[in-house]
């Protein structure tokens, strides 16, 4: 909502500057987004009177205009079609700064020779002054403006651009803002006069109104003005409408818009002659009805949309937009003026359904007061008579089936303190509410007030609303900050969050960079993580109204985001990339909200160790990733096992499943399937890791202390030769099965000429240690021998 301060001053003599007023409004809830000043840069631009207009001797379309701007007469070349003798115009003298819309720059006016005639100045259009985009002709000023007056004195203004919150439809008006400023500054509001002379013809003789759906139309007021003359509205009115962002059309339509901006009540004017039935029926639309609205678009109405009809067919969509057929035209001579009040939900619903949002629907859907309609109707009728002539029928129609009762709301001084935390005395509360137009009563000398909201406020329903009114006018800066004093609630750590954050930190410790990617993705992306482009996992949840086709589905995997990130970064990174994300995936579930499981996914690509003067470059390998997985298990205190994976996303034979202690697969890792890498334009060999964090135990990791062993450890190395198909896990299981074995470390793995074909050599270091005595050599030798024998019996191992 734009508020020109000159217009505002018609209703309130504010003593503060526009900037101070903006600050007060902002602090009290009506945020001023910006203040536009008009005319600050109009130096050397004054009111000029056109004394004479003659044709240019050397041009068909240019003319020579002689202008008096307070001193001597100056002749200038003018190309505007609307220049004529005796009008007042904005006249820029040499040295004035004007706005050039083509170059979007300011230019300093210099004397110019146009087709042989020198111009010592210029008559300006609105665009050249920076007032509007209008450049169809020169701007015409009011006749009573004295020549020579600086234009800034006449037209200079500040325009406040307000952001009105949805609860304050009353502030979508100049008078509403005047009332706010009145409460904030103590200045009084004066409303315009609504008095006009009525003719002797009773309105009821010429028109009847029926509300067929009183649940959707609460009030319908109408007046009738005959013998009017449609013409452009006066300059001052057009200018104000333009300043508020509304295009001037003609005097009648402009007046309805002007009064809407003044009071916040939308009005509509019908060409009375087009309402041939002499009857208005407000009812829900019937199936199949259509109407062509003022913007010349035919609208298909849905059943129940509230319409204004002439008894037969719709003539307007109630509260949204009028019909083209009954619009005011140059030949209109009688106007039926409507000021009504409609059900806010219904208007909002209709505007949304038709995707047709107007200044009227904006106000109606925010629930404007039912009491403003007759006030605004009178004001508009009076302005029509004043500016378009004609006679107003006697009386107005006012159909108001269910009058709203004024309900007093009780507010105690104690309640104000209970919510705000500061003491405000009853007199202050009373003064604040009075300044806002509330009727206050303090019965029986109790510290409480019964307050009736002013008729224009529809947002005040209970004591909490009154408390806010008091707080915002007293000022939030008067609230003294205080730390929370109430009892501290008991708190429990959430194991899921603790474990997850622990994992996040561990991964960072392992050198991985965390990323955060969008939860929304496309079907193509989800299919890209399959070598065959088929969807892996459940059908993703689909959005009804996605912003873009790339954000149509809720992701069921973190991998598309990670692989896209990998691919994007490979374009400008030759370094290694180790990325992870811990976030949710969204999986449908019957009969309940979807599962939003925490997942961990990571991708690895490029060099694990970068080339360095001390070290040779090493690429990532399967066991680098496995090391990270083992570290995670170690840090979170969970037991996991590994087995060869058949997961389609992995390079066959180069990936593992991660199995938890109850045998459930909780994740995978390994080299990415080359097809998937190709889908994401990834050229280097890359690895992925995925763990479903929702499958980790939901308990805090238990830490156990073991007393330090005081007895020495004995080390024995052993190299064995086994068949290639014997797994390290099988050997490990046997060795660790012996008591006194305290550690097992594989330090070499060899296949090649030194061992028979189909065999491999594994070198282990075994640590023996007892917790209650020092081991003797013979004790250790005995177990070591047993281990070798058992490996031989069960796995066919021989010592190398």
């Amino acid at each position: 909502m734009k508020i020109p301060v000159r217009w505002l001053r018609e209703y309130i003599d504010i003593t503060v500057s526009p900037r101070e007023a903006a600050q007060m409004l902002t602090m009290s809830g009506t945020e001023v987004g910006s203040i536009d000043t008009i005319g600050n840069n109009w130096k050397n631009i004054v009111v000029g009177k056109v004394i004479e207009v003659v044709p240019h001797p050397d041009s068909d379309h240019l003319r020579l205009a002689t202008v008096n701007s307070g001193g001597e007469n100056i002749t200038v070349v003018c190309g505007a079609p609307n220049v004529k003798k005796d009008i007042k115009v904005p006249f820029a003298r040499v040295g004035a700064v004007l706005y050039d819309a083509d170059t979007k720059k300011s230019i300093v006016l210099k004397p110019a020779k146009i087709r042989g005639v020198v111009s010592q100045g210029m008559i300006c259009s609105e665009r050249e002054l920076g007032i509007s985009d209008n450049h169809t002709g020169i701007m015409i000023l009011p006749d009573d403006a004295p020549a020579g007056t600086p234009l800034q004195e006449l037209l200079g203004d500040s325009i406040l651009d307000l952001e009105i919150t949805p609860n304050r439809p009353d502030c979508l008006s100049i008078i509403g803002i005047a009332r706010e400023l009145s409460a904030l500054t103590g200045c009084t509001v004066h409303l315009p006069s609504h008095k006009y002379k009525e003719s002797s013809t009773l309105i009821e003789k010429n028109i009847s109104v029926e509300i067929a759906d009183p649940d959707l139309c609460y009030r319908y007021c109408a007046s009738l003005i005959t013998n009017i003359k449609v013409a452009p509205s006066p300059e001052w009115m057009q200018q104000r409408l333009s300043q508020c962002g509304i295009n001037p059309i003609n005097n009648i339509v402009d007046i309805t818009n002007y009064v809407m901006l003044e009071y916040g009540q939308p009005l509509h004017s019908f060409d009375y002659s087009k309402i041939t039935t002499k009857k208005i029926v407000v009812r829900g639309a019937k199936q199949g009805e259509t109407i062509t609205t003022l913007d010349d678009i035919q609208r298909n109405l849905q059943e129940g949309m509230l319409t204004i009809t002439d008894g037969n067919k719709p003539v307007a969509i109630a509260g949204v937009m009028g019909g083209l057929e009954s619009e005011i035209t140059a030949v209109t001579s009688s106007v039926l003026l409507e000021a009504a009040n409609f059900n806010s939900s219904s208007i909002r619903h209709t505007a949304n359904q038709l995707n047709l949002h107007s200044e009227a629907s904006l106000r109606f859907e925010r629930r404007i007061s039912r009491e403003i309609a007759p006030v605004a109707l009178q004001r508009a009728t009076q302005l029509i008579l004043e500016l378009a002539g004609g006679e107003a029928a006697r009386d107005t129609l006012d159909i108001y089936p269910k009058k709203v009762e004024k309900v007093p709301i009780l507010l105690s001084v104690a309640e104000v303190k209970r919510i705000l935390g500061i003491e405000i005395d009853i007199k202050k509360i009373n003064d604040v509410l009075n300044s806002l137009g509330f009727e206050c009563e303090n019965k029986d000398f109790l510290p409480q007030i019964w307050a009736i909201p002013p008729y224009w406020r529809t947002d005040i329903n209970d004591a909490a609303d009154l408390v806010e009114e008091v707080a915002r006018i007293v000022g939030y800066d008067k609230i003294i900050p205080k730390m929370l004093g109430s009892a501290l609630p008991s708190q429990q750590l959430t194991p899921r969050i603790v474990n997850r954050e622990n994992i996040r930190d561990t991964l960072v410790g392992c050198g991985l960079q965390e990323i955060i990617s969008h939860s929304l993705t496309s079907m193509k992306m989800l299919q890209n993580i399959s070598p065959q482009h088929n969807l892996i996992g459940p059908e993703p949840i689909h959005l009804l109204n996605p912003m873009t086709s790339a954000e149509e589905y809720l992701r069921t995997s973190l991998l598309p985001g990670l692989l896209t990130t990998l691919s994007n970064n490979q374009r400008h990174e030759d370094d290694e990339l180790k990325l992870f994300e811990i976030s949710r995936v969204y999986l449908p579930r019957t009969g309940a909200l979807p599962d939003e499981n925490d997942m961990l996914a990571a991708v690895f690509s490029g060099a694990r160790i970068k080339k360095h003067w001390l070290i040779d470059e090493k690429p990532f390998g399967f066991f680098d990733i496995k090391g990270i997985v083992e570290t995670l298990a170690n840090r979170t205190g969970i037991t996991i096992n590994f087995q060869n994976s058949t997961d389609a996303r992995l390079y066959p034979g180069r990936g593992a499943d991660i199995i938890n202690s109850s045998g459930v697969k909780i994740g995978i890792f390994g080299e990415i399937h080359p097809h998937i890498a190709k889908n994401f334009d990834i050229e280097l060999t890359s690895y992925l890791l995925e763990i479903d964090l929702s499958r980790l135990p939901c308990v805090l990791p238990e830490k156990k202390y073991h007393a330090l062993n005081r007895y020495p450890a004995v080390i024995r190395d052993m190299a064995i030769i086994v068949d290639n198909n014997i797994s390290a896990a099988e050997i490990k299981e046997i060795v660790l099965g012996f008591s006194l074995v305290n550690g097992l470390k594989l330090f070499d793995l060899y296949t090649g000429k030194q061992v028979p074909e189909g065999k491999k050599s594994l070198a282990y270091r075994i640590t023996y240690q007892s917790s209650n005595h020092t081991l003797t050599d013979s004790e250790v030798n005995k177990i070591h021998q047993k281990i070798i024998s058992k490996l031989g019996e069960q796995l066919g191992a021989t010592l190398r």
Binding site: E468, Y476, I480, K482, L484, P489, Q492, L507, H518, K610
Partner: protein, 346 residues
């Protein structure tokens, strides 16, 4: 024999004097103190001497042996010291050569910010909880005092799923704010409540430098007997001072959110111009940080709390905005863009 011993002593000491390295010292040791040395031969031949000769020469030979042993030890120490000095002189490193790189990863700047905010509120007794991002209309709007067709719904452009649960007539939506957790937590617990809820939220908005269809918020909620607007102000001013520094001024102004009354917007003094007015703060000198207010009585009633007994405050803030302001990041899309050149800076 005595003369032989004395000359042996002189020879040994004289040749030891000239020795400067370990190798020669070792040769010297073998020559004068080794098994085959003349001294050792003398000692071995002593038993063939008459007793008085044996005693006299034996004492002298042993005396000489001990002397040479001591001198050897002394010389060893000297040579070691010399060698060390030499090596200390010779092995000067080029300390400007790059060290072996240590791989350490980084948390995403948003994770860092969320943790920082949660820690600040955690120290004021707020417990961190999380909630669903795919929500029911009831929790996202209805229970928060925003019924169907309420104009305030325009403040929350919503993305809808084609998914329904149970007998809920409305499709599930992507939560437009973290506020639905106010309702969920109050339904589950009884006062006193003090929680914060970080998480992702979604808006049906075209993405540009300051808007994303997905971003992060943190919700705060405190409900108890006698919680006031003054305590909301105290809590949030303390938060702002810890996050932005104690010199940065903060202010409260009236604002509207359907689920609070009175409603509040908190701003801090502009980080760029320190209140003088610039393009970042639209010449106001202030930067909006968060919205909040006293929990609306209708909301309390909805979860079965008596608004005459309990009061509380709630607040919510966008997380991306905080590092954007702190570090002067001009484009919100960088956070989900995951360009390493961006992420490595935090």
């Amino acid at each position: 024999m005595e003369t032989q011993l004395q000359s042996l002593r002189e020879d040994a000491l004289a040749s030891l004097e000239a020795i400067t390295n370990m190798e020669s010292l070792n040769e010297w040791r073998v020559q004068y103190l080794g098994r085959k040395s003349s001294l050792n031969q003398i000692l071995r031949s002593l038993k063939e001497l008459p007793p008085d000769e044996r005693q006299k020469n034996g004492a002298l030979a042993n005396q000489i042996k001990n002397l040479l042993k001591n001198k050897l030890q002394e010389k060893t120490g000297q040579i070691e010291e010399l060698t060390l000095k030499d090596s200390l002189k010779q092995q000067t490193l080029d300390v400007t050569l790059p060290g072996k790189p240590i791989d350490i990863g980084r948390l995403h700047p948003l994770t860092q910010t969320i943790r920082e905010i949660c820690n600040i509120f955690g120290s004021m007794g707020f417990e961190t909880i999380e909630g669903p991002e795919i929500e029911q209309d009831y929790y996202n709007f209805e229970a928060l005092n925003i019924p169907e067709d309420h104009p305030a719904r325009d403040m929350f452009a919503t993305m809808w799923t084609d998914y329904r649960v149970g007998d809920d007539p409305n499709n599930l939506l992507l939560r437009t704010h973290t506020s639905p957790m106010q309702i969920r937590i109050m339904e589950k617990r009884r006062p006193p409540i003090r929680v914060i809820v970080p998480g992702r939220v979604y808006r049906y908005e075209a993405s540009d430098a300051t808007h994303e269809s997905m971003f992060h918020q943190i919700e705060g909620l405190a409900v108890s007997e006698n919680i006031t607007l003054a305590e909301l102000k105290g809590t949030l001013f303390e938060f702002a001072s810890r996050l932005f520094g104690s010199n940065r001024k903060a202010r409260f102004r009236c604002d509207y959110f359907p689920f609070v009354e009175p409603g509040v917007e908190m701003a801090i003094e502009c980080i760029v111009c320190n209140g003088a007015g610039c393009s970042l703060c639209h010449n106001t000198g202030w930067i909006e940080i968060l919205g909040g207010g006293m929990v609306h009585p209708n909301v309390l009633k909805r979860v079965g709390y008596d608004p005459a007994v309990y009061s509380g405050f709630a607040f919510g803030m966008g997380i991306e905005r905080i590092p954007m302001l702190k570090y002067g990041i001009e484009d919100i899309r960088l956070f989900c863009g995951n360009d390493m050149r961006f992420l490595r800076q935090f």
